[in-house]
């Protein structure tokens, strides 16, 4: 199963964030010119992106801010909520638990797990850390549909398999490994090293140009 329009989809949350800001200001209509200027891209790109969601605007005016927001939310499936657990309450895990933007994404991190006894029972950003061994009992009760993996590279595969064994079919993987899981499990790997690689190449290209 190939996913298409990846670049457009990646831009959606940025539009959404800006649009919510615009809505708070009370601005009813917004044009692709404004969004493009904010993003540092061309208006035609924004127009094509928005078209994917099925929304339509008014010639000479733009799009209704509220309609756009709804439309993007629906397209991303962020209008309904999914129950998630986070495994690995280290600093990255804490950062994610503390991120208050997730409520806008329909992401409800109800529980955090760890194996470190010194962490279990403690609270991080209002959520209690549970023993990862209790996952099987808790997964069903809490109706967990998504697992967020924030453990070390070395234990990520094992954690992923246990999540899958509990019926969790979607995984957001922040560990620096490729997970081997059954084909019906949806995995999204977040590789920040990839971002740094891009930055590095930009820097290298830039200093080349400077020399010329």
């Amino acid at each position: 199963m190939k996913i298409q329009k990846t670049p457009s989809i990646r831009r959606m949350p940025t539009y959404l964030y800006k649009l919510m800001e615009i809505q708070e200001e009370g601005t009813v209509f917004v044009s692709t010119t404004i969004l493009a200027n904010y993003m540092g891209i061309e208006p035609i790109v924004v127009r094509k992106d928005l078209a994917i969601t099925g929304v339509t605007g008014q010639s000479g005016v733009g799009y209704r801010t509220d309609e756009l927001i709804t439309s993007i939310r629906c397209f991303l499936g962020w209008n309904s909520t999914v129950n998630a657990c986070l495994v690995g309450a280290g600093s990255l895990g804490s950062a994610l638990l503390g991120y208050d933007g997730f409520e806008n994404y329909g992401l409800n991190i109800t529980t955090a797990f760890d194996t470190d006894l010194s962490k279990i029972g403690q609270k991080i950003h209002g959520r209690e850390i549970f023993n990862f061994n209790n996952l099987p009992e808790m997964a069903e009760v809490l109706k967990l549909k998504l697992g967020i993996i924030c453990v070390q590279r070395s234990s990520a595969q094992e954690v992923a398999e246990k999540l899958v064994a509990c019926g969790i079919k979607a995984i957001w993987n922040f560990a620096n490994v490729s997970l081997k899981l059954p084909p019906d499990v949806i995995v999204q790997r977040e590789a920040i090293a990839g971002g740094f690689a891009l930055l590095s190449v930009k820097i290298a290209q830039n200093s080349e140009c400077g020399v010329e």
Copy 2:
């Protein structure tokens, strides 16, 4: 300045990590079949990616592991070190400070800054937190070339401008905003919401297919 081969570049660090693992095992030659299998992609993709770095392999055998590693490192500019500072020692900042993979990327986060007086003077993962107001004096002495922004959305623009004013021309932005900076400043924005958007769409597509 457009950057090309973005998808390939993003995959490079993943190859690199796996290759280092392979090297530690003492395996001298590695084929694109092995790398492709690890990444869950096709060998031809890996071959094209590796070709970008200029490395060549041996028909029927594969590539020398050590040559591949060197080649990817050089291509990414990770063979030399860049001094970086991190601004915003919250949980995300701490996570990055604690990430020990950066030494392999030629990234040397020498300093962390914050404005929170309760954090200043403390140490996180061995690095002292300094007052952000001291940035101008310290930037030159420490030869800072890169700034990593981990502050709240609302202060990111201001922080970025101060970094640029200190001669820092490359910024890795983890705050959830588009920064408006002079065109000669290189910015890489890390938008994890984009990753979650992709995951959400995958889930949505999957449940559609399930119904059919």
